[in-house]
Point group: C2
Chain length 345, copies 2
Amino acid sequence: MQSPGDVRNITPFYTSKIDAHLQHVFASAPDLPMYDHLAYFMGFKNEQLQPAVVYGGKRFRSSLLLMLGDWYGQLEAVLPFAGALELYHNFTLIHDDVVDKDTHRRGRPTVWHLFGHDHAINDGDAQLLMVAEILATAAQGGAAARETQHFFLKQFRIVVEGQYLDFELTNAMLGDAAVNRAAYKEMIRCKTAELIVAAAQGAGILTGQSEAECQLLKTYAHSLGMAYQMCDDVVSIWATSETTGKRNYGDVKEKKKTLPILFAYEQLATAEKQQLARLYSQAGLSDTDCETVITLLDNIDTKPAMEISINEYATKAKTAAQALTLTVDQKDTLCSVVDSLLPKV
Amino acid sequence: MQSPGDVRNITPFYTSKIDAHLQHVFASAPDLPMYDHLAYFMGFKNEQLQPAVVYGGKRFRSSLLLMLGDWYGQLEAVLPFAGALELYHNFTLIHDDVVDKDTHRRGRPTVWHLFGHDHAINDGDAQLLMVAEILATAAQGGAAARETQHFFLKQFRIVVEGQYLDFELTNAMLGDAAVNRAAYKEMIRCKTAELIVAAAQGAGILTGQSEAECQLLKTYAHSLGMAYQMCDDVVSIWATSETTGKRNYGDVKEKKKTLPILFAYEQLATAEKQQLARLYSQAGLSDTDCETVITLLDNIDTKPAMEISINEYATKAKTAAQALTLTVDQKDTLCSVVDSLLPKV
């Protein structure tokens, strides 16, 4: 399985540029430990809040935006928007970790785990306000910049709506009418794909590309985002540990109703459908229960069905990329980004 | 003791105008229950998320901004900013209630208590993004509107910094070098006064008042904000229940290190100082303990000292109001606002 760091190797120039820009943003922040919490999460401080350079994420969304902006001839204009996008993405992670009670991310303690829930909520709020301020300043660059500001804020709110839909799906039972593949796809579109759309389409809007080019950028990002999230879901069910060779049953253990589960539930014969629903209504699932769930899925070829769907999205993303008004090398790079984000299980 | 509803009676026209504007904002929101949670908190929906008109706060900050904007001749231009200010204030309350574990506010269940912590965090995030979007649109009104947008976002972030300072003060022990009157005043300046400054000075900036007028508006709002919070702190220690006639010891029970406690700690003789510190290091305080704390405070006339300090701020606010380039009636109204926000215990 490819590591998620790979995408950084495709865009090292832009990833470095974003890192330098964000370090500058935090260097200019007021002298209050609250901002050090945020710098810690971004990988610019260690757990003792001393300067450090630690892995703080792929910077995938911001690198994509910056790269496209550069290709369209406006690297400097796009930089603050890329910074805001990366900060927004990380703001959502800070609050998500509180909600999901995740103690670690990127191999480091999460903000709430290190500084407490209260601080994590408030730190996230501060980062979201920083995002709004950066966008307000960047919007002074002219009409296209103002339009990009509005577009970003709209996309950002869709992500929060996606989080709402995620809560609703999580709280509903398998078998509820509202729990179906369409609802799930709508949720991941909002929560995952639309932020990648912000990156790609945002580059088109800011640099004044044609409506057709912007639509292609949107299709590329939307398809990539859907494939990316679905891939993540497949990995979390079928992937085995590199060290032990065993499955860890991630999403199954947590009884997450991701696409493979919903596909299987819709396709299974009545008896197996009821068995799956029964397992998913239990208080907890043992390893044996998880194996039973996976066997139910495997019996109707759920994984290959998911792979077909993921490949369809990946192909759609690549087709859109190839139709852009960019050089052959640039279009190939966008296709490499798709491949690097979709690990084989 | 005057009820906090009184200030609405001074500015009924503006309070109604804000309410109508905010109802319109929520009527235009996407059809997702998440927005109904927010409308519930603002008093536009009941607990079943059906349309209702319930008390949803004094609307003090937004009414002050709208009233001043109207007096300076720009009611319509100031309206979206007033809406954003009210929504921002309520966003902070939604997250504060999560942090403080408060189950009720304004006599109604808080957002987290009714819909869960996860939703409350996410709902608040949505409202903050709505604020950023409203400001981005309003900023298109020209240079003064852009300046007001930046000013508001700066002030909003100061409020979050104030929340950080509040956490730090709460977690520190009475007797720690960092726990002193100066630190407390800095905290309430950030957390409370600066949002009122946003209202008053924001009206000046948006309507293009002179630097001198803006400074007076700032002084008025800062002094009012400091007096308002200090008054709140005095009430929470000494106020008695209207029904039982007994004290409920609010902040003492919670061992909050508000100004009266810090004043007393700094002024008390060594033995009494140690007694106070000992009580505040206990796991919990009984009613008898609370009475002991209040007796320690009363023995060195803490309440009259607080009242002198509050009156100084109130006088400073009124003096600034009287120096504004407004009519006699308008200036008197601003002074009435000061009086109505400072209840006698």
